[in-house]
C-alpha cells in the first residue's frame, strides 16, 4: 500500500490556510477593517459546503477524512460562524483589536482543530494541537490595549500549554519506545495482541495530561480563569466552546481507534480527575464576582460532566460525551454572545453585583440569560438537562452508580452560582443606567442558540441521533473494514 496524496480530501484545510495567509498579507494595505470579517464569513460558509461534499479518504497515513471527523467539523464550522458574527459587533466597539489579525488567527486555529480531528497518528495530532493553540495565545494577548493583565493571562496559558506539550511528547516517546509506531491503527493492533498493556497505559497517561490541560480539567485548570478573563469576550467562547469540543472529540477518537482495548482502565483513571473537576469547578464558581471568571470555573465543571461519558467506557457513553460538548458549545456561544453585547455598551456589567435590575432595562436579554443559566445548571426543560441526563444514564448503565451519585450531588452545588446571577438580575433592586440597541450580528447567534437550547430540551431526538449514529457508523466502519 503506497502513500496516497489525494488533495481533494484535505481541501478545507488548504483553503483555510490560504485565506488566512491572504488576510495577513493584505491586512497592512486595507483601511476598512471590516473586510476581514466578510472574508471569514464567506470562507466559513464555503467550508461548510466543502466539508459536506469532500470525499472521505486518506492523505498519507497521517490524515483521514471520515464520517466522524466530518460531522464534528460541521459543528465546529457552525460554531465559529456564530462566534465570528458575535466578534463582528464586538470589534465595532473595540476597534484596536486589529481585526485582520483577529480573524486570521481565528481561521488558523480552526485549521489546527480540523487537522487534529482528522489526524490518524499521534504526531500529527500533537502538531495540529499546537497549531490550534498558538493562535489562541495571540488572540488573548491582542486584548492588551484594553486590558493590561491580558498579557499575564496569555502567558499563563502559553506556559501551561507548553507544559502540556512536553507531557504529550514524553507520552509519545514512551509509546514509540514500546510500540515502535505513532499510528493509531498500529497501536490498536499491538494492544489487541496483548503487547505492552502497562507501558501503553503509562504513555497514555502522559498524553492525557496534555489533553486535560487543554480541557482545563483539575489539577491542570489554573490557567482557565485568567485566560478567560483576559481574552476578548468572543474569543473566550472560542476557547471554551470550539477548542474544548475539538480536543474532547479528538480524545474520544484516540481512545476509540488507538487505545480501545485499554478503555476500561482509562475510564478508571478518569474518575478522580473528573470528580475533582466537577467539585472544584462548581465550588470555586460560587464566590466569583466577575461573570466571566464564574463561567470559567463552570466550564471546568462542564468539561468534567462531559468526561463522565468517558468513564463509562462504553460507545454510547462516548457519544454522550460528544453530545454534552455540543450542547455546551451551544450554551457557551449564547451566553458569551450576550456578555459581548453587555461589554460593548457597558463593560462594568460583567461584574455580577452591578447587573442588578437588568431585567427592567433589558427584559429580553434578561430572559435569554435566564434560559442559558437554567440550561447550564441542568434544569429541565432545557438542553443542559438532557445532556446531563444522558451522561448519567451511560454511567449508571456501566455500574458506576456511585460516581453518578457523587457527580449529581456536586451538580446541586453547581446550581447555586447560576441562581445567583439570576437573583442579581431579577431580584436585586438598584438603579441602573444602561442603553443599548439590538443588531443582527448579536441577535442571530444568541436567539438561534437560545432556541436550540429550548428545542433540544423539549425534543432532543434528532440531535442525539446525529451524534449516536455518527459514533455507531464510525465504530462499525472501524471494526469491519480494517
Amino acid at each position: 500500500m503506497g502513500i496516497t496524496l489525494n488533495f481533494s480530501v484535505i481541501l478545507t484545510e488548504i483553503i483555510f490556510v490560504l485565506i488566512s495567509s491572504l488576510i495577513f498579507l493584505i491586512d497592512k494595505f486595507i483601511k476598512n477593517k471590516n473586510y476581514a470579517f466578510y472574508i471569514t464569513l464567506i470562507t466559513l460558509v464555503l467550508a461548510f459546503y466543502i466539508v459536506l461534499f469532500v470525499p472521505f479518504g486518506e492523505f498519507t497515513y497521517a490524515y483521514k477524512a471520515d464520517f466522524y471527523s466530518s460531522v464534528i467539523k460541521l459543528f465546529l464550522v457552525g460554531g465559529t460562524l456564530l462566534i465570528s458574527l458575535i466578534s463582528y459587533s464586538y470589534l465595532q466597539y473595540y476597534v484596536n483589536l486589529n481585526s485582520g489579525e483577529y480573524y486570521g488567527f481565528l481561521l488558523f486555529s480552526l485549521v489546527g482543530a480540523f487537522l487534529m480531528l482528522s489526524g490518524m497518528d499521534l504526531v500529527t495530532i500533537y502538531l495540529a494541537m499546537e497549531l490550534m493553540s498558538f493562535p489562541v495565545y495571540f488572540l488573548i494577548a491582542l486584548n492588551y490595549t484594553y486590558y493590561r493583565a491580558s498579557l499575564e493571562g496569555a502567558l499563563k496559558y502559553f506556559i501551561v500549554g507548553s507544559l502540556g506539550s512536553i507531557f504529550i511528547l514524553i507520552g509519545l516517546g514512551v509509546i514509540y519506545y514500546f510500540g515502535g509506531t505513532f499510528l493509531l491503527q498500529e497501536i490498536f493492533n499491538k494492544l489487541a495482541q496483548n503487547f505492552y498493556f502497562k507501558e501503553f497505559l503509562i504513555g497514555f497517561i502522559f498524553l492525557l495530561i496534555g489533553f486535560s490541560i487543554k480541557l482545563s480539567l483539575v489539577p491542570f485548570h489554573m490557567w482557565a480563569p485568567d485566560a478567560y478573563e483576559s481574552a476578548p469576550v468572543p474569543i473566550t467562547s472560542f476557547i471554551a466552546g470550539i477548542v474544548k469540543f475539538a480536543v474532547m472529540a479528538t480524545l474520544v477518537k484516540i481512545i476509540l481507534i488507538g487505545f480501545n482495548p485499554l478503555k476500561i482502565e482509562i475510564g478508571e483513571i478518569f474518575i478522580p480527575i473528573i470528580l475533582a473537576s466537577i467539585l472544584i469547578g462548581n465550588v470555586m464558581a460560587i464566590k466569583q464576582d466577575n461573570i466571566i471568571r464564574m463561567l470559567a470555573y463552570s466550564s471546568i465543571a462542564h468539561a468534567g460532566y462531559a468526561g463522565l461519558g468517558i468513564i463509562s467506557a462504553d460507545y454510547a457513553g462516548y457519544s454522550f460525551t460528544i453530545f454534552y460538548m455540543l450542547i455546551y458549545l451551544i450554551m457557551t456561544i449564547g451566553i458569551f454572545g450576550i456578555l459581548a453585547l453587555l461589554a460593548n455598551y457597558k463593560r462594568e456589567l460583567l461584574h455580577i453585583p452591578s447587573m442588578a435590575s437588568l431585567c427592567e432595562k433589558a427584559p429580553f436579554i434578561s430572559f435569554l440569560i435566564l434560559v442559558f443559566m437554567f440550561s447550564l445548571a441542568g434544569i429541565p426543560p432545557t438542553a443542559g438537562f438532557i445532556a446531563k441526563f444522558y451522561v448519567f444514564m451511560s454511567l449508571i448503565k456501566t455500574k458506576y452508580v456511585w460516581v453518578a451519585l457523587i457527580a449529581i450531588i456536586f451538580a446541586i452545588i453547581g446550581a447555586y452560582p447560576y441562581l445567583r446571577v439570576l437573583k442579581v438580575i431579577y431580584m436585586d433592586k438598584e438603579p441602573l443606567e444602561f442603553y443599548f440597541k439590538y443588531d443582527f450580528a448579536f441577535l442571530i447567534p444568541v436567539v438561534l442558540t437560545a432556541l436550540l437550547v429550548l428545542l433540544i430540551g423539549v425534543y432532543p431526538k434528532p440531535w442525539t441521533d446525529i451524534i449516536y449514529k455518527t459514533m455507531y457508523f464510525y465504530i462499525s466502519s472501524l471494526f469491519y473494514y480494517s
Binding site: 431585567c359 441562581l419 441521533d465
Partner: protein, 488 residues
Amino acid sequence: MEFLLNNILSLIIWFPFIGILLILLIDKKRETLIKWVSLITIIIDCILSFYLLANFDFSKSGFQFVERKRWIEFINSYYFLGVDGISLLFIPLSTFTTLLCILISWDSIKELVKEFYLALLFTNIAMVGTFCALDLVIFYIFWEAILIPMYLIIGIWGGPRRIYSAIKFFLYTFFGSVFMLIGIIYLYIKFGTFDYTLLVTQKHPFLVEALLFLGFAIAFAIKVPMWPVHTWLPDAHTEAPTAGSVILAGILIKLGGYGFVRFALPMFPQASLFFSKLILVLSVIAIIYAGLVCLVEDDLKRLIAYSSVSHMGFVTLGIFSFNPIAIKGAILQMINHGIVTGALFMCVGIVYDRTHSRSISYYGGLATSMPLYAAFFMVFTLSSIGLPGTNGFIGEFLILLGTFLANKTMVVFGALGVIIGAAYMLWLYQRVFFQELNPNVAKMLPLKTNELIALILPTILVFWIGLYPNSLLNFMTASVKTLVMNLK
C-alpha cells in the same frame, strides 16, 4: 368532539401556551390586557379540565384518555399521558388554583406584571403535566420545570427575605429530586423502559427495592414536606407573594403526596411496607410538632405554613396505612387542603395588601371593620379544623378511620393533632378578629370584586365536598381498590 376527547390531556397541558404566546406579543405597558388574556386562558383551561372530569368513566380502574406518541425512541421514552382516579382530581385542582391566583393578584402585583403572568401560566403547564405524565422522563421534566417559575415568583415578587427563601426552596427541592433521577435511570437500565404501566409490574430484590424507594421517597418527602426536611416550607410560604403561597400550598406540596401514591407505593410495595412504620412515626411527629409550633407563632403566614406541615402529616399517615379508606381519605384531604389552605393564604394576602403586616399582634377586632371578610375566614378556619359539614372533616375522618383499622396507636396521636389544630386556628381567629378593635385596622377598604370572587369559589367547594363527598370519592374508588389489591 372526538378530537377533543382524544387529545384532551395535551390540550389542558398546552392550552396556556397559547396565552403565553399572546402575552409575549403584548406590549408590557398594557397591563390590563395582559391580565385579561391570562384570565381568559385559564378560565378556558379550567373549563377543559372540568370537561375532563365529566367524561371520566369512574367504573374503570385503568388509565383513561391515554396519549402515547414517540418522543425519544433512542432511549425508548414516549410522550405518554393518562389519568386514573388517583391523578384525575388534581388536574382541575391545578387549573382552579391558578385561576384563583390570577384573581387574587389582579391588583397586588404592581411591578413586572407581564413576567408574573407568564410565570403563572408556565407553572400551570408544568403542574398539570406532572399529574398527567406516565413516562418517567416526561414526569421528571415537568416536575423539575416547576422549580423555574416558582423560584422566580418567590424571588421577584416576594417579601423582605425573598431571596434567601427562593434559593433555599430551589436547592432543597433540587437536592431531593436528583436522587429520584438516579432511581429513574436505574429502573431504565434494568428494564429498558420509562413506561410507568410496565414498571409497576416489575419485581425487584428487596435491597434494590429499598434503595430505589429511598431515592424516590427523598424527593417526595421534601416536596410534601415531611418532618425533618420541612424547613424550606415556612420560609418559602411566608416570603412568597400571595399567589405563590397559594400555588405552593395548593399544588406544589401535593406533588409529594401524589408521588407517594402514584410511584412509591405501587412500584416498590415491599419497601413501602418495610418503611411504613418509619413514615407513620414521622407523620405523627409532623402533625404534633407543627401544631405546637403554630401555637407560638406570631406571623400569620408562617402559622398557616406550619399548619400545612401538620395537615400533610395526616396525608402521609393515611397513605402509609395501606387501607383503601385511608388512601381515599388522603387523596381527598390533599384536594381539601389545596382548597382551604390556598383560601387561607388568599385571606392573609388580602389584609396584607391593605396593612403590609403579617404579625398577629398588629391585628385585633377585624370583625368589626371587615365583617364579610371575617365570615369567609371563619368558613375556612372551621374547614381547616375539620368541622362536620365542611370538607376538612371528611378528609380527616376518613384518614383516621382507615388508619384505625390498620394501626391504632398512631391514630391516638393523630387525633391529638386534630385537637391542637382546633386550638391554634380558633385562637388565631380570636386574636385577629375579636378582642378590642386595634386602631391599626380600624379603617379598612372593603373587599374588591376580584377578591370576593376568589373567596366565593373555594367557599362553594368547601360545602359541596363537605356535604356530598361522594361526588369526588366516586372517582377514585376503583383506582384505589386496585392499588391496595396490588399492594398485598
